[in-house]
């Protein structure tokens, strides 16, 4: 990763030094896709963009979104914008847009009929601020997945669970066989994301929306959400022996059969693929934890900072078109393990888990995700709460729920 970053930095300097009257326009694109599966996916985007006669200058920032976003934002606000940058669509770039730093893509969107292509429609809504479109969604990433290791359950001698409840009751058997039932890495967003998944699965879609969309603090402190905290308590007990930090290390515990399962978004699938595992045979996936089969339409999108250079501005348009191109969509999403943003593409080569996701998407069982509903500030407070909750076995459910309700009360 470090090597990649260096090469990118080198390429960027070289581009600055030797920028002569070249026909191809160099466009620097920043993103935080650096794990094995992610890097393979982003290479597809670069290939497609280079094929248009322009040049993709890779600006990968190692770490996760949390590390990368501050760097990207300070470059944009500091007057050194890149050609295009990844964000999770939703509210992460809201203020940058309001400050007039990002490019309005409405004309291009009308010309290319994005409103007809992009599916589900809520994706484009997340890119729309004040009636104007500011980003290109490239994929749908949903958090609602439980990844299970078939090997671990065979070793423990219990049948594969079909939903979260069966998984919880299988936990003692797994523990007896020396297997960590649930892998939750130490990064704060993992604990917080796992709770949100439990909220949508155990509490149901309505409860999820009531808490995060309507920000009903009284409901968040009430008995229905107490059930969700009970489930989170189960998860906390099952995860207590996970001694890893990064999400892909936690996924690796599942891949190697050291852990029974992991609640993680569908990006984990890329890791299974890189490790050469087959869905259904080596691992099993349960969307919505097997309880409530919905998919949240979070995901990644590209935003384009406002640039003065006309040549680069033209290249931005080309890149935006390339990203939504059916061929790029298929190549990229197969490698990434995510779902494409257009319904008219052929995904025959998709594996079992992706097909499950596509079926749910086709049914229209979608919900907005927290990136779209909550500000980064509320998200961070939530992360602090749940990383403490998962690490501290003596924190009572009542205390945790009270603090959760307080966060919802002050959320914006």
């Amino acid at each position: 990763m470090r090597y990649k970053f260096l090469t990118a930095a080198f390429a960027a300097t070289a581009a600055l030094n030797f920028a002569g009257p070249a026909a191809a326009t160099d466009l620097e694109v920043t993103h935080w896709w650096t794990s094995g599966g992610e890097a393979a996916a982003v290479a597809e985007l670069a290939k497609a963009f280079d094929a248009t006669g322009n040049h993709w200058v890779d600006g990968a920032i190692a770490g996760s979104g949390g590390t990368a976003r501050p760097i990207m934002i300070s470059r944009i606000t500091g007057g050194d914008p890149m050609g295009a940058t990844q964000f999770n669509h939703g509210r992460q770039a809201e203020e940058l847009v309001q400050a007039g730093l990002m490019r309005d893509l409405t004309d291009l969107a009308t010309k290319e009929k994005w409103t007809e292509i992009v599916r589900p429609k809520s994706l484009l809504d997340s890119c729309t601020i004040g009636g104007k479109i500011y980003c290109v969604p490239v994929n749908i990433h949903s958090w609602q997945w439980l990844w299970l290791s078939n090997e671990a359950f065979q070793k423990a001698g219990v049948p594969m669970p079909k939903d979260w409840n069966e998984f919880v009751s299988a936990a003692p058997a797994l523990e007896k066989a020396g297997i960590i039932p649930l892998a939750v890495g130490g990064q704060p967003w993992q604990a917080s994301g796992a709770f949100d998944v439990l909220l949508a699965a155990v509490g149901g879609t309505d409860a999820f929306l009531k808490v995060y969309r309507d920000k009903d603090a009284k409901f968040a402190g009430g008995p229905e959400i107490a059930k969700v905290f009970k489930a989170a308590d189960d998860a906390r007990k099952m995860a207590k022996n996970t001694n890893v930090q990064d999400w892909n290390q936690a996924t690796n515990l599942v891949i190697t059969g050291k852990a029974g399962g992991q609640i993680m978004g569908d990006w984990a699938q890329g890791e299974f693929q890189v490790a050469g595992k087959t869905a259904g045979k080596d691992y099993t996936c349960l969307p919505g934890l097997g309880l409530n089969e919905v998919i949240a339409t979070g995901g990644d999108a590209f935003y384009f900072p406002l640039l003065k250079d006309a040549g680069k501005a033209k290249a931005q348009e080309v890149l935006a078109e390339t990203l939504l191109d059916p061929k790029t969509q298929v190549a990229f999403n197969l490698k990434k393990g995510s779902l494409p943003v257009r319904g008219d593409v052929d995904l025959n080569t998709a594996n079992d888990c992706m097909k499950k996701g596509l079926a749910i998407l086709a049914k229209g069982a979608v919900i907005p995700w927290t990136d779209q509903l909550l500000s980064q500030d509320s998200q961070k407070q939530k992360e602090d709460l749940f990383s403490e909750f998962f690490a501290k076995p003596d924190m009572t459910l009542e205390e945790a729920q009270k603090r959760f309700a307080d966060i919802i009360a002050s959320a914006d």
């Binding site: 976003r69 934002i73 940058l96 990064q187 500000s375 980064q376 961070k380 403490e388």
Partner: protein
């Protein structure tokens, strides 16, 4: 001083004064100006971008009601007391031992000072591995036969801050030792001879004669250690990222996280203003006592 000499006083060393204007401007604009700006904006509800929309003390009320901030303050206190106490004591003892005209002094000095050449990030990563129960010290001791041995400070909320302190001491004590050694070498040989003639035991000589004489060295050391304590950030990020949970959070990390991750500048500024305030409360009375008298001397 008579009145006629006053203009001369201003113009004396004019070249030097002109030459220092850029530095004075830098200090005023960057340090004082930046500080004032930060304090001003801590009273606003700025989010990702600074905005002058005043909300009074709201950010401070929220700050002091946040469990994570309270944990950070508590950690900073524990970490501060430990690093101050142990790096001074261990550093001084090591220096005193090296000062006994032993053989291979240079070699030992290099060994002790070497960790200081590493950044906190590298130190943190090294100790993250050493303290990892599956790969580090615990594993080694268990493989030797003590199978019930348990040593996993980084994964235990109640003692994680001590695990971080161990790494900080390993990295920083060598420097303190060198400072102390320099101080010890500055003591006149005759004082030792006089103490020996009077039959004063060695430990008493150190405690009641040498240490009081080394006061300036101790004060320099104290300032260096204290500055290191307040700004500790990278070590925590490399070793635990504040975990498990929020058990090893520190104030500097709170400031960074809320300014950039949470896109809430107001909250980050309020926290950094509190950090500044705590430094001012400690430094100002001390600086006044230490340097205040010298103007007249």
């Amino acid at each position: 001083m008579s009145n006629s000499e006053r203009p001369n006083q201003l113009l004396r060393n004019l070249n030097a004064k002109v030459a220092s204007i850029p530095m004075i401007l830098t200090a005023l604009v960057v340090f004082v100006g930046g500080t004032a700006w930060t304090v001003l904006y801590s009273f606003t509800n700025s989010k990702l971008l600074p905005r002058l929309n005043f909300v009074g003390l709201d950010q401070y009320y929220r700050l002091w009601a946040t469990p994570r901030w309270l944990v950070s303050i508590e950690n900073l206190l524990i970490y501060g007391v430990i690093s101050l106490l142990f790096s001074l004591v261990i550093g001084f003892i090591l220096a005193a031992l090296l000062d006994q005209k032993i053989r291979f002094e240079d070699t030992f000095r290099t060994i002790f000072l070497y960790p200081f050449a590493l950044s906190f990030i590298v130190t943190g990563l090294v100790w993250q591995w050493l303290l990892n129960p599956d790969f580090g010290i615990q594993r080694v001791v268990r493989d030797l036969g003590w199978t019930s041995f348990s040593f996993d400070p980084l994964y235990n909320s109640s003692i994680v801050i001590y695990g971080i302190s161990i790494a900080a001491l390993w990295q920083g004590t060598g420097l303190i030792m060198c400072l102390m050694l320099a101080g010890l070498r500055g003591i006149d040989e005759d004082i030792w001879k006089a103490a020996r003639v009077d039959g004063i035991p060695m430990w008493k000589t150190y405690l009641f004669i040498i240490i009081p004489m080394m006061r300036p060295v101790f004060i320099t050391t104290l300032v260096i250690i204290a500055a290191g304590i307040v700004k500790v950030y990278d070590l925590v990020v490399a070793q635990t990222s504040g975990g498990p949970g929020i058990a090893s959070e520190v104030p500097a990390k709170y400031v960074y996280d809320y300014m950039f991750f949470a896109q809430n500048l107001g909250q980050g500024f309020a926290a950094s203003t509190m950090m500044l305030l705590s430094v001012v409360i400690v430094i100002v009375p001390w600086a006044y006592l230490e340097f205040g008298g010298k103007k007249h001397g």
